[in-house]
């Protein structure tokens, strides 16, 4: 008895990829500033950049999780 597979390919809208790219670049930017602010001996700036980085990371993760099957 042969098995039947169904491959479902969903094409995401182009703007969704652009938004993910912007999110990723923003993360790079914020992470660089977080690391470099530590090197600049600017503790408050470094802390704030780390907070922004993790908030953005979690926000991205939540959005991805909610949209993974859509």
């Amino acid at each position: 008895m042969s098995e039947k597979y169904v491959i479902e390919i969903k094409k995401r809208a182009w703007y969704e990829w652009v938004l993910w790219a912007i999110w990723f670049l923003a993360e790079i930017f914020v992470l660089q500033n977080a690391i470099a602010s530590g090197g600049e001996l600017e503790p408050r700036a470094a802390t704030l950049f780390w907070v922004i980085f993790f908030v953005l990371l979690v926000a991205g993760g939540v959005v991805w999780y909610l949209r993974r099957d859509k």
Binding site: Y5, V6, F24, E27, I28, F29, L31, Q32, N33, I35, A36, S37, G39, E40, L41, E42, P43, R44, A45, L48, F49, W64, R68
Partner: protein, 466 residues
């Protein structure tokens, strides 16, 4: 089906995680990128024939400086009326007040050492008084062999070549940035009429510069102006207003003495004259020459702010008869930012800095030189605070300035570029500067635990690459 779906999901997850991993690796690399690129820059060749730095696109060269100047109203200043030196200051506040302020400064200095006040301890005072300089002279040490003494003709080259080798030499001596201006009948007025020691500065048609007991003679042929900056330590200045914080200023002046003497001897060795300050801040208004040479813009501090190092520099000047390729003023949005920021004026303990929205032609006192539209400061209250309030140089205005940043975090370049192109964002940037804790005074005691680079400055911080 559910199992297949699960497998497909895992692969996507894997790809995403891989992507993030690669991104993370890239981030780790890019976080250190500025230092690497500056090292590469410092080892690279000048891309401009005159050795001009390739500044970023948002630092524009302009025909006129962002500070309006009415040359007909500019007069050669008698530097004895400045407030930095004793007699000038006493002229404004009176001898009795100077004595009272000096006694207060002495008392505070003693109290700081006896009670171990942060930044005023014996080791801080010892550091401040430790800087020994080379000394300054109008015509230089005159010790280097001239081409004549070596039996060779003097150095000849194009103005571009001359500018390039002077830049290369001066960077080597320790200057941060170097620019050139050709003197004319207008800007010649930036030369003091009288030096701080009372000697009159006179332009002559003599071939060679000279000086006697009453005069310093500047040959008209020495019409090429070399303006240069020497970097101060941002990290040290953050300890202002304390003797520890202010000693970076002292150190920079001492370093500049060596740079000045080296420049004078270098040009003598090439067969040319080089005239400069006979004492600290003598001969000419160096920041004004710096602005004309494109090293920076005037600011609310009524000092020059550079795109590279903000206000964390001291400006110096020399005149030579070696023809050099000249530079133009710049517009990097600094003066515009100052109009909206006012952080320095708010932080000034003696309220000596201007809160006006726009610069003005009206001077505050005799320590200001009229003829340019600026944010004139009250130097008498500033100097009084130096003595009575902190018993040392202050420097808070330099420390809190949003342009006083190191160059590691990308955000600083992003904001400088944005401010230069979209001034309406300046107020927001100022608020963010506060929110992110920039310019907050740091502990002086902590400074002694820092492993800072030589002179406390980042000498790898480049003159910006475009």
């Amino acid at each position: 089906m559910a199992e297949n779906k699960k497998k497909r999901l895992n692969r996507r997850e894997f790809l995403r995680i891989s992507g993030l991993g690669l991104g993370g690796a890239a981030l780790a690399t890019t976080a250190a990128a500025p230092a690497k690129s500056s090292q590469k820059f410092q080892g690279g060749k000048f891309s401009d024939p005159a050795g001009r730095p390739n500044r970023p696109w948002w630092v524009k060269t302009v025909d006129e400086p962002t500070t309006e100047v009415d040359w007909s109203k500019v007069a050669r200043y008698d530097e004895r009326f400045g407030t930095v030196r004793g007699p000038g200051f006493a002229g404004y506040v009176g001898e009795d007040e100077v004595d009272r302020l000096s006694a207060a400064a002495k008392e505070l200095t003693l109290k700081g050492m006896l009670e171990d006040i942060d930044g005023y301890t014996l080791k801080d005072q010892a550091l401040k008084s430790a800087h020994v300089g080379y000394g300054r002279s109008f015509m230089g040490p005159q010790r280097a062999d001239t081409p004549e003494e070596r039996g060779v003709p003097k150095w000849e080259g194009s103005p571009e070549e001359a500018a390039r080798i002077i830049r290369a030499a001066m960077r080597h001596f320790g200057a941060a940035t170097v620019g050139f201006v050709e003197m004319n009948e207008d800007n010649k007025k930036l030369t003091y009429a009288v030096d701080p020691d009372g000697k009159e500065l006179v332009f002559t048609d003599d071939e060679m510069a000279s000086e006697d007991d009453n005069y310093r003679y500047i040959p008209n042929k020495c019409k090429y102006v070399i303006a240069f900056t020497v970097q101060m330590s941002t990290e040290t200045m953050r300890r202002s207003p304390t003797p520890l914080g202010s000693q970076t200023t002292t150190l920079t002046y001492r370093r500049s003495e060596t740079i000045q003497a080296s420049l004078q001897e270098f040009l003598r060795g090439l067969g040319y004259q080089c005239l400069s300050s006979s004492s600290t801040n003598a001969m000419a208004i160096a920041p004004a020459w710096g602005v004309l040479a494109g090293l920076g813009e005037m600011s609310r501090l009524n000092r020059m702010i550079t795109p590279e190092f903000g206000p964390m520099v001291r400006a110096f000047v020399a005149y030579t008869d070696l023809p050099v390729a000249t530079d133009k003023p710049i517009d990097a949005g600094i003066m515009e930012f100052c109009k909206r920021c006012k952080k320095c004026a708010e932080a000034c303990p003696s309220e000596s800095l201007s809160f006006l929205d726009e610069p003005t032609w009206e001077t505050v006192g005799g320590w200001n030189n009229p003829g340019h539209k600026a944010y004139f400061e009250d130097a008498s209250t500033c100097r009084a605070y130096w003595r009575e309030g902190v018993a040392t140089n202050c420097g808070i205005c330099f420390a809190v300035c949003p342009f006083s940043k190191k160059d590691k975090a990308w955000i600083h370049e992003f904001i400088k570029a944005s401010s230069a192109t979209a001034p309406f964002l300046d107020g927001f940037f100022r608020s963010m500067d506060d929110a992110f804790g920039y310019g907050v005074q740091a502990s002086a005691e902590e400074w002694w635990n820092l492993d800072l680079p030589e002179y406390g400055i980042d000498s790898n911080q480049p003159v910006m690459e475009g």
